[in-house]
């Protein structure tokens, strides 16, 4: 039970509400109107999305290795992807975790000026990794229709690039909103959850990078 059995004065009404009408009714009007992290339904929605998309990535990686286990040569024809741009982009994405961290922290402190600053920095990073991503596609050394190896590589790249594009777009919309308003407390929760999703997009790249760039070398 959430209501205290007695001595409710001792309990913080901001957390526990308060009993009124001789304990018959629980008054929740003293509770906050938004909250961060796993207290917020938005966090659970985001985590659901992360689980779904994480499963897609995992299955696509399994498909890659399944096809590899049946192949005599891997890559089946041609060369592995050139390492340079993919490695550069891994660095750019990892570096973007820094402004992302500060944007999340500023949101949780309801600090609008810093939220705006760090979101803009994040946007600059997303322009950077989208531009490098275009160069990565040029350095894959295979086409999607060359053979099953090429298809698996392009599928992984395509899936992750879709995430980069949609995350950049989402973050862009949120950045504009934080400048133009209308603003309320819930929007800081949105910034915080958007940052959590950003971490997922960046971190999920690491296994995909390892598979695409190194799975074709070992």
């Amino acid at each position: 039970m959430s209501a205290p059995p007695g001595g409710q004065e001792a309990r913080d009404p901001h957390r526990f509400g308060r009993l009124v009408e001789d304990g018959r009714v629980l008054d929740v009007s003293t509770l906050p109107t938004f909250a961060f992290g796993h207290r917020s339904p938005m966090w659970w929605g985001t985590m659901g999305l992360v689980l779904i998309e994480g499963t897609v990535f995992a299955l696509a990686i399994m498909a890659y290795f399944y096809l590899r286990s049946h192949a005599e040569r891997w890559p089946m024809s041609g060369m592995p992807p050139a390492l340079f741009w993919g490695t550069v982009n891994t660095g750019v994405m990892l570096a973007s975790a820094v402004p992302n961290h500060f944007a999340k922290r500023a949101a949780e402190r309801l600090d609008l000026a810093k939220v705006r600053l760090w979101l803009v920095v994040c946007m600059l990073f997303s322009f950077a990794f989208l531009a490098v991503r275009a160069l990565e596609f040029g350095a894959l050394n295979t086409r999607w229709d060359t053979d099953a190896y090429g298809s698996a590589v392009w599928m992984l790249m395509g899936l992750h690039t879709t995430h980069l594009v949609t995350d950049a777009f989402d973050s862009g919309v949120l950045t504009v909103l934080m400048f133009t308003g209308p603003l309320e407390g819930k929007r800081y929760v949105d910034v915080s959850e958007n940052a959590a999703y950003w971490y997922f997009v960046v971190l999920s790249w690491l296994p995909i990078y390892a598979v695409i760039y190194w799975g074709a070398r070992f």
Binding site: L31, L51, I52, A148, M155, V173, G185
Partner: protein, 640 residues
């Protein structure tokens, strides 16, 4: 933003039932119809939509049975027959069985857990729209003679570009994208609702068993549906832009499809079968007048079933060249699934045994489960053994097995659930006399239709043949099966008549016609738009069967805007209040934009690029807050 002690008073209309009803109503008129987000409105539409697909799938089944009634049948030609059985299977699996469970859940879950809404009402509406548009697309294609024709699991290479030229399989693959997108969104909506929106005091340990089944099922959805989306995306890219995933000539592999499909497809059976276990638990408790025996065992059995369900997929692939040791493992796993299922069956039998039984139509449908599912389960154990599976693979024995499992495990309890909750949905009881006719015709017709198929399978009749010669001696049993199918058709027709009649002339239900114990029966029938005028505080598993305890309910939630109570995950302790967004047509418009993208991409891959622009616009407009509304909220905001 204000501080704590000024919160009271900004909204003088707190607790007023009339204001509450207005606040939670969707706007009237045509635009209002497209703007609806109330979970009950959407859920009723969702149920009706899935039921229409059930009727269409049933008509296709009748067409199949008429064709096979006699040797050398002439009702359908081979090409149309291929489309008809593919449409029948795809409809029943993707447009009926999985979504109908989510549809029922989005109606009942908030009412059972003492919530005023689902967690993401707009996403919930979007999920229904996109589902409906995907189903409509498939049937439009079928009526234009471009319906899919490679079977409901679309095996490559048959479904690949070489053996299925044209657009038929592409429509099938995009239907998967539509329905799985909808299913995944509903899973997020339902999981979040269940974990964060239970009334204070409803700890996980007090949650109705039905809500447990929905939680478990939708967690399965998160891990299973991505597999079929990935598989069908790879199929459509193989067909449209020449990727080589399934093409052995270029290093691809046809079995990759089977692995990905059945990694989804086997858990899917449990996504269809587990929510009805919740119907069973609700109905058995009410009509035995006692709680279900062994609450903890029931919950653990559900979780065990869900877990094992992911280790069974290869038993659909015993006829392929997989390692024998691997097959032995999957045989063992398939046999193990009998353990949690038996635990539940024994718990229900004990409940019925020790209860005071009230034989009403909902209970009849539930009791049929025991007979039919048991038979389906036993043939499942037979098919799980590899040598027998070699013999019976792709015969009518499998058709009999899967219909025994799916109709016995899901459709019979689902009809029971309709009889049970119809009074809550509409305020009127379904007719009991027609209900009994409906039940007995369904039960007898079902066994007439499907039991002979076991024998036909043992005699070697393969699945998916459009006809057979008289010399095979399969005619009598096939005719019997067709007579059974027509009997089922008659029984479903009686159900439709019962629904239509009862909507106008049914006996008034009152709040709790069955004397049930869970929260959905504490509110009027049909429930008010906000579900609960006063959100309850929960003190046990069956709040209506126990003495009142204090505090009885919650006060202090706004009635002038859509405010809900958020509680903690495990113990449902108070956490915060949250404003939900209002009604809007943007989910509908976003669904239209998404449909244009999906259907366009069947014809040109560039649709993924230009089609993304309207999707981006619609989703941004959906998200963008209204200044006037935000201003009102900021006035009463309390910081965390």
């Amino acid at each position: 933003m204000t501080v704590l002690d000024t919160a009271k008073g900004s909204w003088p209309e707190r607790g007023d039932a009339f204001t509450l009803e207005q606040t939670w109503s969707d706007p009237p008129g045509l635009l209002g119809w497209f703007s609806a987000v109330n979970h009950k409105t959407i859920a009723v539409r969702f149920m009706v939509t899935t039921f229409i697909f059930f009727l269409l799938g049933g008509l296709l089944a009748l067409a199949i049975r008429l064709q096979l009634a006699l040797p050398n049948g002439k009702v359908l030609g081979p090409d149309l027959y291929n489309q008809v059985f593919t449409m029948h299977g795809s409809t029943m699996m993707f447009l009926f069985a999985v979504p109908v469970m989510q549809a029922v859940a989005t109606y009942l879950v908030p009412l059972m857990i003492g919530a005023r809404s689902v967690a993401f009402p707009r996403m919930n509406a979007f999920a229904w729209w996109i589902f409906t548009m995907g189903g409509a697309m498939l049937y439009l294609a079928f009526f234009l003679d471009i319906g899919p024709d490679a079977g409901w699991f679309a095996y490559v290479p048959l479904a690949g570009p070489d053996y299925s030229p044209g657009k038929r399989v592409d429509f099938w693959a995009q239907m998967i994208t539509f329905t799985e997108l909808s299913g995944l969104m509903e899973a997020i909506v339902l999981i979040t609702t269940i974990l964060k929106m239970r009334a204070p005091g409803m700890t996980l340990n007090r949650m109705p068993l039905f809500v447990w089944t929905i939680l478990v099922t939708n967690v399965m959805v998160l891990f299973a549906m991505p597999a079929v989306m990935l598989a069908s995306t790879a199929l459509i890219t193989d067909r449209l832009v020449d990727t080589q995933f399934y093409n052995p000539a270029k290093g691809g592999d046809a079995l990759l499809w089977q692995h990905l499909f059945w990694f989804f497809g086997h858990p899917e059976v449990y996504m269809i079968f587990i929510p009805p276990l919740g119907f069973m638990s609700s109905i058995i408790a009410t009509f035995s007048r006692r709680p279900v025996v062994g609450y903890a065992a029931m919950v653990l059995a559900l979780i065990g079933t869900a877990f094992l369900a992911f280790g069974l997929w290869v038993h659909h692939m015993f006829a392929t060249n997989l390692p024998e040791l691997g097959k032995a493992f999957f045989t063992a796993a398939s046999l193990m699934i009998a353990i949690p299922t038996s635990v539940q069956i024994f718990c229900w039998i004990s409940t019925l045994w020790t209860g005071r039984i009230d034989f009403k139509t909902p209970l009849l449908f539930v009791l049929a489960f025991f007979v039919i599912l048991l038979l389906g389960g036993l043939t499942g154990l037979m098919l799980a053994s590899v040598p027998l599976d070699y013999q019976l693979h792709d015969t009518y024995f499998v058709v009999a097995h899967l219909h025994y499992v799916l109709l016995g495990g899901a459709v019979f309890p689902l009809f029971g659930a309709f009889y049970y909750w119809f009074p809550k949905f509409t305020g009127r009881l379904l007719g009991e006399r027609l209900g009994r006719w409906n039940f007995w015709l369904f039960f007898i017709g079902f066994n007439l239709a499907f039991f002979p198929m076991h024998v036909l399978g043992l005699q070697g009749m393969p699945r998916r043949v459009y006809t057979y010669p008289a010399e095979m001696d399969w005619a009598d049993l096939n005719l019997l099966a067709t007579a059974g199918a027509l009997t089922i058709g008659l029984s479903v027709l009686l159900f439709v008549v019962n629904v239509v009649r009862s909507l106008r002339h049914g006996a008034a239900a009152g709040d709790n016609p069955w004397g049930a114990g869970t929260l959905e029966w504490s509110v009027s029938s049909p429930p008010p738009m906000a579900n609960f005028e006063r959100v309850p505080v929960v003190h046990g598993r069956f709040p209506l069967w126990q003495d009142a305890a204090q505090p009885a309910h919650v006060t202090g939630l706004a009635s002038g805007y859509r405010e809900v109570l958020i509680t903690s995950v495990a113990d449902a302790k108070l956490d915060h209040r949250l404003w939900l967004p209002g009604s809007t047509p943007w989910p509908f418009l976003a669904a239209v934009a998404t449909t244009i993208l999906f259907v366009g991409s069947i014809f040109t891959p560039w649709a993924v690029v230009w089609g993304a622009v309207p999707v981006a616009i619609a989703t941004t407009a959906w998200f963008w807050p209204k200044r006037e509304m935000t201003g009102r909220r900021v006035d009463s905001e309390l910081l965390p």
